[in-house]
């Protein structure tokens, strides 16, 4: 049976987002929390793989207790089980500490075939977890998938990035980082909602793991946020003068100056 795990994070909705002027961090109080938009593509992929190949799908998140709501959303979409990793000791974990906790989590789970992540979170945008976690678990990471199939424990897929495409086949377990707009995440069905609230959510805390000290996100995170600042990009207008040909030449020059190199240089008129 295929064991699928989807990693999700609860993030503040970008709608009405505000930054604390003193600390430079996001104001999370009173802001609506949603499932990180990129993770919805992961959930949809997980659900459709389960529909196609059978198996069981679990949503996992590490976060504060209120992240339970995000897991209820996952359950409503059709996820079978969910796990919330939460502890004050994990607060302020950076991506490395988060990776270590997730690594321990999967060591404990032991039996996993496919782990799915989105490309990045909308509240910190590092996109580091999928890369770090595949290293930590020593399993292949596959990104930029276009089509895929699974046969006898072998995952075959077509990848497409930039101007290259690849066909690869790899043995499970693997970690998939699904790109944005890869699929169309399903809407929550009303009948899923009641069922979601009847299910148990599994909780892991600091003491669930054998080697708690090194997982201490509060004190062991090597990342220090030194400063955050608001970047204001001012738009500027530049009116290009001259006749048609001169305008085109000037425009090409400006584009080149800005590093836009792949320009069409065929006959202009």
């Amino acid at each position: 049976m295929l064991k699928i795990f989807v990693l999700i994070k609860q993030v503040p909705s970008l709608h009405n987002l505000q930054i604390d002027k003193q600390t430079g961090t996001l104001i999370r109080e009173g802001v609506e929390n949603i499932i990180n938009p990129d993770d919805l593509y992961g959930l949809e992929l997980g659900l459709s793989l389960k529909e196609q190949y059978g198996g069981e799908i679990t949503a996992i998140t590490m976060g504060p207790p209120q992240a339970e709501f995000a897991l209820r959303e996952c359950l409503s979409m059709g996820v079978d089980k969910s796990l919330l990793i939460t502890d004050e000791q994990f607060a302020y974990s950076d991506t490395l500490q988060t990776t270590l906790v997730l690594k321990e989590t999967f060591h404990k789970i032991k039996d996993y075939d496919i782990i799915i992540t989105g490309s990045q979170t909308s509240d910190s945008s590092t996109g580091q977890i999928p890369f770090q976690l595949s290293e930590a678990l020593d399993i292949p990471l596959i990104t930029d998938i276009f089509t895929m199939e699974i046969e006898n424990n072998i995952f075959k897929c077509h990848r497409n990035f930039g101007h290259e495409s690849q066909n690869i086949s790899v043995e499970l377990p693997i970690l998939i980082r699904v790109r944005r707009h890869f699929n169309e995440p399903r809407h929550i069905s009303l009948s899923g909602i009641k069922r979601a609230f009847e299910k148990e959510i599994e909780f892991n805390d600091f003491n669930t793991f054998n080697c708690p000290e090194y997982l201490d996100g509060c004190n062991k995170s090597p990342t220090n946020v030194v400063k955050t600042e608001k970047i204001v990009i001012k738009r500027k207008n530049e009116i290009i003068e001259g006749n048609f040909n001169e305008k085109v030449q000037k425009l090409l020059k400006i584009m080149q100056e800005h590093g836009i190199e792949r320009i069409w240089t065929g006959d202009m008129i």
């Binding site: 959303e73 409503s76 399903r186 809407h187 929550i188 009303l190 909602i193 609230f197």
Partner: protein, 382 residues
Amino acid sequence: MNFELTEQQKLVRRSVRKFAEEVLAPVAPTFDREAKYNGYIVKELSKVNLFGIQLPEKYGGADLDSISYAITIEEISRICASTGLMLSVHNSVGAYPIYNWGTEEQKERYLPDIATGKKISGFSWTEPNAGSDAQGIECIMVQKGNDFVLNGSKIFVTNGAIGSVILIGTRYKTNDGQNGIATIILEKDMEGYEIGQPEDKMGVRGNITTSLYFNNIRVPKENILGSLNDGFRIAMQTLDVGRIGIAAQALGIAQAAYEHSVEYSKGRIQFKRPISQFQGISFKLAEMSTKIDAARLLIYRAAFMKDTKKRFSKESAMCKYYASKIARQVTQEAIQIHGGYGYMKDLPLERYYRDAKVTEIYEGTSEIMKLIIAQQILRGNL
């Protein structure tokens, strides 16, 4: 007492809102303009189980509580009042009476298809000569052997064009000379069942309203809902439930008009400042917000009383009367706040106004709501 929605109810609101904004928003203006209903939407609504909101899982429903139901209709109507109407009628006055008064055999026969939207349901009582005076209906079915033969016609049938299971009220006459009013279940493909032309309406134009004609329809006893002489009581209790949905529909329309008004008044600059900074405008917003809140609370209370098995005729009449009235007022003021732009069809404000008006008419006019409320008061239900 607790004024917070449960986590489950919050998730209902969030999910339905997202669905409505993504799936219905792009098509709502077209439904209104072309007075057409696009069949593919039924499939989309079915995918998220909007046709069986309160039916038990056994029949394929979502088995939600009545507050969740009200939230659902509000959120759908906030984006598309025509779809809100279809779903309110289907779920509350179509599916509910079959579930509540139907025999197990009737439930097995109709509810699974109703819950998936394979069969859209409706409730048709009004006739050319019987509107507010619901006892004045003239459809008549006369017993012939074991069955009845039905003749007559109905008007203003919501879901009339797409509905395939329609509950109707009719007079009856039995062989042994009994007569009265029955509620019966009709199916679209019964011989002698004819659907009239679509009405050209002021609002909720995306819901196709038609007449229905019944020519010698053979109605087997299995199609009678509850006991034969219980039809009128069933209809009145069904409308108590239906009015929560219509009130929620009105609320959704008002909410949409209000949100647009807040946004617009903050952005529209006149006399060198946003018009929201003029007290004449901001007071309108304050009034809108207060009215909408009051309506919402009245609706939730009626829904709560239904779920806790209390009598709620008065409360449901109150929420329907009040929500429809403020929906008309709020949508009208919203046009005022938008000035000339509000009057143009480019913006949805004039649609909201047209859609809101009918909530003061169907499932009992505001005058009839006050009649019901007053009757209850004078009977001692202060």
